[in-house]
């Protein structure tokens, strides 16, 4: 069951001109959230902007005893609502509804878990990586961004034991180009009898390419899709994704309650 919390901002860390990490005091939501789930957030108090916006849960914040005290959001500033979240001050109140949606399916060793993230698509990967590592799964993160200074939290993932494969569009960090190129090479190099599951979050084009690549190599792949959402609860039918129907054709599912994590092989991409 989701909780609706008037969450206090406990910290706001600007990572760059566009990105920030907003820490919220929302223990009930943090306690209940599992990797891949999201929250619906509203920073404004008035009617403009009006609607909440969906955000993946980024970190689960814990106290010294390990108890969940809150969660953070990884935010990329693109519009008015994300601008308000970029500018939020400690002590501000933010309405936060969650946890919502379907989580990732966690694999077990001996399968490897390969995560693919583009830009702000890093958001659900933090808790996913923690959960996979905790199960003893060997993990790799294929992580692409526009520039080197937008590849965040590399030390966190290294310390956790996640192997990193980095790309940037301008070549200022890692390999130049898109993250799909090294992913394809790694999949081609992996023997068929060594299982691997893929998890992807990022721009739609990257998700589609990851899905195609996974299918070409016969590997399971889950993607966390991003759609414009109205309510996050299944009420409005705004955030639909076309899924393959038995016997051909498609049907629309609401990504807020059937997703945001969906089986890439079932999505009608085009």
């Amino acid at each position: 069951m989701p909780f609706d919390v008037a969450a206090t901002v406990v910290a706001n860390l600007a990572l760059s001109h566009d990105y920030n990490v907003l820490a919220l005091d929302a223990p009930q939501i943090a306690e209940a959230a599992i990797p891949g789930q999201f929250v619906m957030v509203k920073a404004a108090t008035g009617h403009d902007p009006l609607l909440r916006r969906p955000f993946s849960v980024f970190e689960i914040l814990r106290d010294a005893s390990g108890r969940a005290t809150g969660l953070s959001l990884l935010v990329k500033r693109i519009g008015v609502s994300t601008g308000l979240l970029y500018d939020a001050k400690p002590g501000d109140t933010i309405m936060c509804l969650g946890p919502l949606g379907q989580p990732f399916t966690l694999v077990d060793a001996p399968a490897d878990g390969w995560m693919v993230a583009g830009g702000v698509g890093l958001a659900p990967v933090w808790t996913l990586a923690e959960a996979l590592v905790a199960r003893g799964v060997t993990t790799t993160l294929f992580y692409g961004a526009r520039r080197n200074d937008e590849l965040f939290y590399l030390d966190f993932f290294r310390t956790l034991g996640v192997e990193l494969v980095l790309t940037t569009e301008d070549g200022s960090g890692g390999e130049q180009g898109r993250v799909i190129a090294p992913l394809e090479r790694a999949l081609a190099a992996r023997p068929a009898d060594q299982p691997v599951s893929l998890y992807a979050c990022g721009p739609e084009g990257m998700l589609a390419a990851t899905a195609r690549t996974a299918a070409a190599f016969g590997r399971p792949c889950e993607v966390s899709v991003e759609r414009i959402m109205g309510c996050g609860m299944g009420g409005c039918y705004s955030c639909v994704v076309p899924m393959k129907s038995e016997g051909g054709g498609f049907h629309h599912v609401r990504s807020c309650i059937a997703g945001p994590v969906l089986d890439a092989a079932q999505i009608v991409w085009d």
């Binding site: 069951m1 989701p2 609706d4 509203k42 009617h47 403009d48 902007p49 009006l50 609607l51 909440r52 309405m95 509804l97 759609r227 414009i228 109205g230 309510c231 609860m233 299944g234 009420g235 409005c236 039918y237 705004s238 955030c239 639909v240 994704v241 076309p242 498609f250 049907h251 629309h252 309650i257």
Partner: protein
């Protein structure tokens, strides 16, 4: 002091043969089939749960993006995605019954016969308390608004449904006409038990970089606080034109807004877009109405309905 539950006021209202415990309903298409919210909201505390529009068959609706936010509002073109009347009865209605929800089904059709057929099927199902006839969806080509924009079409749909059901029928009127009150009159003459309004206002938002509409269907329907004063005016006009109850909606965000509609003439109200912002809004609005009545010493909702004094200031 007094919350809605403690207040010594009667919040019940009548819509035809149906008495509902309080005048606050969910607006169709803004509350799924109700069951989506059952984990958070006690569905029996709403005056009624009005579910998403249903045709005879399943429909997939328009591709995403289906909504765009606009100043103090939103434009949607969902395209009436839905599971069809048969799956609704087998998959959703049992849970709604179990949760003791008062259920109003929003009925859609591409032909007069389809409205009648869907209504007939729902009348035989246990746990449906009233039918709201959606003759006002701006987002689909056939059906819906073609009936709601013609007085003859409105009459035909209402009288065809009247022949097949004894449930209260509530045609839902479009604001996309010059004189909604004449449509309320047509509906009353054809045997409607109430009218509800407003559905959304036909609207367009354009991305100036791509010079393309911001939602896939091009145009859509505007809802939210941006439309409220126009909706209040239309509810007032309909109240003046007909004897049957008027169910008012359009941008209600809180108890104050709901009371404004009731004072203009709404017997009950529906809340749509606001539920997206605050899924726990129901108790806030219901108890706020109770508090207001208590504060003004008004014993029942009936005394409030249509009580606006339009004399010059």
């Amino acid at each position: 002091m007094g919350t809605g539950q403690q207040a010594p006021v009667d919040l019940s209202v009548r819509i035809g043969s149906l008495t509902i415990a309080n005048p606050v309903m969910s607006a169709s298409g803004c509350f799924g089939y109700g069951v989506e919210y059952a984990g958070m909201v006690d569905l029996s505390t709403l005056g009624a749960v009005v579910v998403k529009g249903l045709f005879l068959k399943e429909r997939e609706g328009h591709p995403a993006p289906r909504i765009v936010e606009t100043p103090a509002g939103m434009i949607n073109a969902i395209g009436l995605q839905g599971i069809g009347v048969h799956r609704f009865i087998s998959e959703k209605l049992p849970e709604l019954r179990e949760r003791r929800a008062t259920v109003v089904v929003n009925v859609c059709g591409t032909t007069v016969d389809e409205y009648a057929e869907v209504s007939r099927i729902l009348s035989d199902a246990e746990g449906v308390h009233a039918l709201e006839l959606n003759i006002s969806c701006p987002n689909i080509k056939e059906g819906g608004i073609q009936f709601g924009c013609s007085l003859g079409g409105t009459h035909d749909v209402v009288s065809a449904v009247r022949k097949v059901t004894s449930l209260p029928i509530i045609p839902k009127l479009t604001p996309n006409v010059t004189d909604p009150a004449s449509f309320a009159r047509a509906a009353e003459a054809a045997g409607a038990d109430a009218v509800s309004l407003v559905n959304t206002f036909l609207a367009l938002a354009i991305d100036i970089e791509s010079r393309r509409p911001k939602i896939s269907n091009g145009m859509g329907g505007l809802s939210g606080p941006a439309i409220r004063p126009i909706a209040v005016r239309m509810v007032y006009e309909c109240r003046q034109a007909v004897k049957i109850p008027v169910v008012g909606m359009g941008g209600i965000m809180n108890a104050r807004d709901a009371l404004e509609f009731m004072i203009a003439g709404a017997t009950a109200v529906q809340v749509g877009t606001a539920n997206f912002v605050d899924p726990l809004i129901w108790n806030t609005i219901v108890s706020g109405i109770g508090d207001y009545l208590t504060r003004h010493g008004i014993k029942s909702v009936d005394a409030l309905i249509g009580s606006v004094d339009m004399g010059k200031h």
